[in-house]
């Protein structure tokens, strides 16, 4: 499975489109034996209701400069949300679908 196969794909829930996949969030464990850096696994998917998607992650980080651009890009990505892996019913080249009652979390990256 390649990232390029997933980016921009419609995200469905109960047959309805709720947005488009804009990014994958990974969890890098502190350590994996035999490696200098732990092997990342998928933590969740970031969904934007519009195709405009995300630019430089203004909606995910506490960036407010340059002020006009920050507001503009955050407004363009309004309504974005994070869905954790366990709330996905399907994720692959065939499409991305959320489970019934999947929880929508803030897309902000923790500090």
């Amino acid at each position: 499975m390649f990232l390029a196969d997933l980016l921009g794909r419609p995200v469905l829930q109960s047959g309805q489109r709720v947005g488009f996949l804009t990014d994958l969030r990974l969890l890098i464990p502190a350590r994996t034996p035999g490696q200098q850096l732990g092997t990342p696994s998928v933590y969740g998917v970031l969904v934007c209701p519009r195709r405009t998607g995300s630019f430089l992650g203004f909606e995910r980080r506490d960036l407010d400069a340059p002020l006009f651009l920050a507001r503009w890009f955050r407004w363009r990505a309004r309504g974005s949300f994070l869905v954790l892996w366990e709330d996905l019913a399907q994720c692959g080249e065939q499409g991305v679908e959320l489970r019934e009652g999947a929880t929508r979390w803030s897309p902000a990256l923790p500090p």
Binding site: L3, L26, A30, Q35, V42
Partner: protein, 134 residues
């Protein structure tokens, strides 16, 4: 601003969170001696089969960084055969920052398909092309 309206996710296992497109894609890859190796053009995860996820399915892990000439594919679409992808295994990655640093030398990274094909079918047919220049 939508950020304050949604709750933050619950506590997660210890580790660092990273958004692939934001913090990994298009980053330069440097070998252990800071020699440039390539750019992260894509990443490859465990094969998810038909993609249908039963409850409790473990999340796929990132296996390889993919690099190579994919500009035309991004513009015009389509896909090279998977055997032609140039992959760097994640186990060779040492550090993530503004660049991706490897724990190995560039010579240990698999040569790209195009470079290998040119070496075999073009360069070695040129007189003097079969040895290191003196």
């Amino acid at each position: 601003m939508n950020m304050p309206q949604l709750p933050m996710p619950p506590a997660r296992p210890e580790g660092r969170l990273l958004d692939v497109r934001l913090s990994l894609l298009d980053r330069q890859v440097l070998d252990v001696g800071d020699e440039p190796v390539g750019v992260v053009d894509d990443v490859e995860f465990d094969d998810a089969g038909d993609g249908v996820l039963a409850p409790g399915t473990p999340p796929p892990q990132l296996r390889n960084l993919v690099h190579g000439p994919i500009l035309l594919e991004r513009i015009f679409g389509g896909r090279r055969p998977r055997a032609h992808f140039d992959r760097i295994p994640w186990s060779a990655v040492a550090e993530l920052g503004s660049a991706v640093r490897l724990a190995v030398e560039a010579s240990a990274v698999p040569v790209g398909w195009l470079e290998g094909w040119l070496a075999t079918n073009v360069i070695r047919r040129i007189p003097g092309g079969r040895h290191v220049p003196r």
